[in-house]
């Protein structure tokens, strides 16, 4: 697998690509994709020989974020995290028709967060009992909810102790540059 070519393919399906530094974060690339592009991304990853590590969700503001992790079994290490915000109606397209292993991961994310994976063949409780269908135990209370910008890595050089407000302000210019080059990634 050619990593340079791979980056171009990710950009071509409308993903924001960011190198994260394996030593610091434990994965190589971070992709921000719009919910509509999740399915093409999954098709691309499977065609390139990536396997699905997990699908999960993170409850943050402004919307629940669905996180996918892929890794490659080839000789050069490539571990990728892709993330998308759920749409306003609480749905994200399923990838269980591409990666059948996502079937259970998506059911688990629905159990814990209530994310609806549109097109999923059997979105019923898996880990939780049937009567707990509306429990959604991992949703956070409002006072504990954080904005997604407070859960991102600070740019290199920024002090880890910096409060989130200033960190978000620092991040702003870089983020807008990227958005200008790429279509808006999420709502």
């Amino acid at each position: 697998m050619n990593i340079k070519a791979m980056q171009k393919k990710w950009l071509a399906i409308g993903a924001e690509v960011e190198e994260t530094g394996y030593a610091k974060t434990g994965y190589d690339f971070n992709l921000n994709v719009a919910a509509d592009n999740v399915h093409p991304l999954a098709e691309l990853m499977l065609a390139e020989g990536f396997y699905l590590v997990f699908v999960t969700a993170v409850h943050a503001l402004p919307a629940i974020e669905v996180v996918y992790q892929f890794a490659h079994t080839g000789s050069s290490r490539c571990r990728v995290i892709a993330r998308t915000a759920v749409r306003a109606d609480g749905t994200v397209p399923t990838i269980s028709d591409v990666y059948q292993g996502a079937n259970w991961h998506e059911r688990e994310a629905r159990d814990f967060y209530g994310v609806v994976f549109a097109g999923h063949p059997n979105l019923v409780p898996l880990i939780l009992a049937e009567e707990d269908v509306d429990l959604k135990p991992l949703l956070k209370e409002e006072k504990n909810l954080k904005d997604v910008s407070a859960l991102r890595h600070l740019p290199a050089g920024a002090e880890p102790e910096v409060k989130t407000a200033t960190a978000a302000a620092k991040k702003e210019p870089a983020a807008t540059d990227k958005k200008a080059a790429q279509p808006q990634a999420s709502n």
Partner: protein
């Protein structure tokens, strides 16, 4: 003979409930098998019997207090789960681990891997109807448990790793025991091979059961010995060399056929590779501290998300942690290998005889608490 009964589909289709207390599901796994006679039309695992909300618990207390929980997920690979979690926090907080501690982690983790494989070896053959092997396997496994009990303080759900190292140094007695065990187990291999691996009945039970391919494994996220049984030499100890694994000379055993027999052989051969790693680590064991100094009491993790993947006995274990900058994780996700490995059952076991479903699921080496978490 009543021909009407045979011709009416409703009369010979039935649902067979295997588990949650079935001996060959090793714990509380339940599988609903839609049957036609002896043949399985649609096997559907039913999960959640031992769900203990580990991920929710992880969000409610300081990150380092989650360490004992990791051992309760995979009780057979507890030290490897410990190690992965300690490495995750060290990566997030930027803590350097002393060399000696890394070596001790590798030695104890590999011993843990061997005892997990030995238990699987005995229990799997028990599922297939051979009663004796589990006695031999447990006899060998006992030596590991005794040695680990001396340093870790427990026999199953270890909590030995700490952020920055391990809680107790190993002593000469442990080193002696580990060396004696390596010699002992190597002496036992010919016996195992004569008794089991060369046994034609065992081979006939396992060969051609399950047809895993690299493509199928990618679609389901199957990792570990099952993936290696399809010819893909993917082992995170080599692919993403963590800790000090890059300093040891060992091989990644693979097989080509992708059936239960291939998975059986991969696991069996991995025991020898783990012995090689332990042997080299004991030879090269450096002197020094086993804990990093200056590990803060309140361990703040810089904001952002962190991932740490290690090779557990059953495949890839990934911890994924999202931090908001405090010492309590905002989100912690544990990706356990058996979860993805079990999800292939509806596809792989479709159309098998019911006895082969037991063979096929045994080859997955399932640990149910790590599936349900």
């Amino acid at each position: 003979m009543n021909v009407d009964v045979l011709e009416d589909e409703r009369q010979h289709h039935f649902v067979l409930n295997m588990g949650p207390q079935h001996p060959s599901t090793h714990g509380v796994l339940r599988v609903l098998l839609k049957m036609e006679g002896e043949y399985v039309l649609d096997p559907q695992p039913v999960l959640g019997y031992v769900h203990r909300c580990h991920e929710k618990i992880g969000e409610c207390k300081p990150a380092r207090s989650f360490m004992p929980n990791t051992a309760r997920m995979d009780y057979l690979g507890a030290l490897i789960y410990n190690q992965g979690y300690a490495m995750l926090l060290e990566r997030a907080a930027g803590i350097e681990v002393p060399k000696r501690a890394e070596y001790i982690r590798v030695i104890t983790s590999e011993l843990n891997r061997i005892q997990s494989h030995l238990l699987w070896y005995g229990a799997y053959l028990l599922d297939l109807g051979a009663f004796t092997p589990i006695m031999y396997a447990f006899d060998d496994r006992e030596h590991i448990l005794d040695a680990l009990e001396d340093v870790c303080g427990s026999r199953l759900t270890y909590c030995y790793c700490r952020v920055g190292g391990v809680c107790k140094d190993i002593d000469d007695k442990f080193i002696e025991r580990a060396r004696a065990f390596i010699e002992r187990l190597r002496g036992r291999f010919p016996m195992y091979e004569n008794l089991i691996n060369g046994n034609v009945i065992v081979q006939k039970r396992m060969k051609s059961v399950g047809n895993y391919t690299p493509e199928l494994c990618a679609r389901y996220g199957v990792t570990g010995p099952l993936l290696r049984a399809t010819g893909v030499a993917y082992d995170l100890r080599k692919a993403e060399p963590y800790s000090v694994y890059s300093e040891f000379d060992f091989e990644v055993p693979t097989e080509q056929t992708g059936d239960a027999w291939a998975a059986f052989n991969v696991r069996y051969r991995e025991i020898e590779q783990s012995l090689r790693i332990i042997e080299q680590a004991l030879d090269k064991l450096p002197e020094g501290e086993v804990m990093a100094d200056k590990v803060p009491k309140k361990l703040r993790l810089p904001q952002g998300d962190y991932n740490c993947s290690v090779e557990a006995p059953r495949g890839e274990l990934s911890y994924y942690l999202v931090s908001d900058g405090s010492d309590v994780p905002y989100r912690i996700k544990v990706r356990t290998p058996s979860y993805s490995n079990l999800s292939v059952v509806p596809e792989v076991c479709k159309g098998m005889m019911i006895a082969d479903v037991v063979t096929s699921m045994g080859a997955l080496d399932l640990v149910i608490p790590e599936i349900d978490r």
